[in-house]
Point group: C2
Chain length 341, copies 2
Amino acid sequence: MDKATSVDVEMTKEPSSDTSSVWGGIDLGGTKIEAVVIDTAGAVLGHARHPTPGDGSVADVVQAMYGTLREATHAAGVTPQRLAGVGVGAPGSVDANKGTLSHVSNVGQGWKEPYPVAADLGDLVEGKVALGNDVQVAVAAEYRLGAGRPYRSVLGVWWGTGVGGGLVLNGVPWRGRGAAGEVGHVVVKPGGARCGCGRRGCMEAYAGRAAMERRARKAVRRGEKTMLFELMHKKGRPRLTSSIWSKALADEDTLATWLIDRAVRMLGAGLASAINLLDVEAVILGGGLGTRLGPDYAKHIHEAMRPHIFVPERQPPVLVAELGELAGAIGAALLGQPPMK
Amino acid sequence: MDKATSVDVEMTKEPSSDTSSVWGGIDLGGTKIEAVVIDTAGAVLGHARHPTPGDGSVADVVQAMYGTLREATHAAGVTPQRLAGVGVGAPGSVDANKGTLSHVSNVGQGWKEPYPVAADLGDLVEGKVALGNDVQVAVAAEYRLGAGRPYRSVLGVWWGTGVGGGLVLNGVPWRGRGAAGEVGHVVVKPGGARCGCGRRGCMEAYAGRAAMERRARKAVRRGEKTMLFELMHKKGRPRLTSSIWSKALADEDTLATWLIDRAVRMLGAGLASAINLLDVEAVILGGGLGTRLGPDYAKHIHEAMRPHIFVPERQPPVLVAELGELAGAIGAALLGQPPMK
């Protein structure tokens, strides 16, 4: 059984003549596992979704991934053994070369030490498994098949619980030493708000949904009024979800509007910094909040970037991701595909 | 006569077997023009320097570039016609594909409209001229022949009058749509100090020598004490040069120390943001102030980055540029070299 492989090669946007091969992709998330089967052109032939085993061991998680993939292959009318390759997009710290995943806090029981997820899953699917960062693979999918189609170089920003990111530079996913794309940890205010990562002043400390919720709870303790937590209780949710934020904005809730406006301002500064450094052609906005708030907020973010862009006549568009909840699984499946020219 | 060409290919670090070809490089600056002749391995065979014609037209500037290059070829024992290619590193807005230079404010009389510098110079040297951004080519030279030798991916930060930058990613200079590397215009404080570029809160607005001088003059008008301007008058300089800042720091001048400490803090935040985004292996510190303040300040900058680095166990070293004042001219000469594998 092969180790996971990571190949940084140019991704083609041309359809291939090989139409017989199919690939599997798995998006491992904290609450759910999505699996797809795609053909060479990236079309989804089958799809399945399962909840992530809440308190499962790593072995349980791998079994659940396999089960979800098997369902997706069934939906596509093939067997797991027919897959030319399987890719996995995962959170935490991914070592794509070793096929291991470590520092995972939100999946199953969580685990810190590197675990050979690619090898374990590879035993079940009888084939090669490639492992990648969940946001990086979603951005690669958007580059090839979604909002990034017209461009060669894009920055993806995944606005959700945290703020993740991914880069494609001249057709090649840029991973640096493995951790590139952490646009959420661009410093927008030295010595500023405490971030979930433990540092201060990161963009995520202002724009991440978890950070905004912490800030909202603090405001309520201080006696500020908001409908955010009423909506949460009414919907029976333990957290302020993207749809709750969206509803509160629509109803012009003062605190929600203030927090989201501040998030947009900080996203503008941080993303403009990234553009000044990299001069890529476009920004793709994904993630739970990004896709929920949609084109209106993509426009607000662009307006917040504008005063900071160094070459003002070449404003990069800010586009909403097009592949929705399947971007991660499709991007994972693309990981398994061999380099094409 | 050929148009200027820009070829983004992997730069080799291996010595070539071709030892007969020589290349010319010109670094066009606001006060001086440096020219070198190098061999295939990048060794400097000849060098010349001339002041930039203070109020000259573009044609005068091109003539002065040619004169300086001719002297460098003479020193190397060859004729300009023997050069396999000539590269020019220039400030302002470079269109490498068209070989034009526009928006130049500090060279000769300056000019705004695109001027075909590469074609004009090409007529004189009877050969191919490649045009590149002055900081980007200096960073490429440091990557290949200087402090960046051990690495595949580096961020160069040129700390001088302004704060420029350049990127080499996996052996390839990264220029984006032509303006990548503007690390000086990473936003470190939204709504903060006014920058020379007209925007607010850029790293350069705190760390650039020109910005620090403006801030020092303001402090003096408010009655603060400093030796900075006495040193300037004593040395007969119209501006606070890097050596004046260095002397004031050595003498523990309060204002100079406060301004430089603030600059270091902002460089730390901005460079850490760039590392979190790109995860390159090393930072190379060049420019007038960077090379003058040297390893001690490279260390201070690294310490200022440390609290913001997302993967703390993989701190990129901050290294002082090694090629000194010739980095730009050598990097320009490398521009002229054909792709090598």
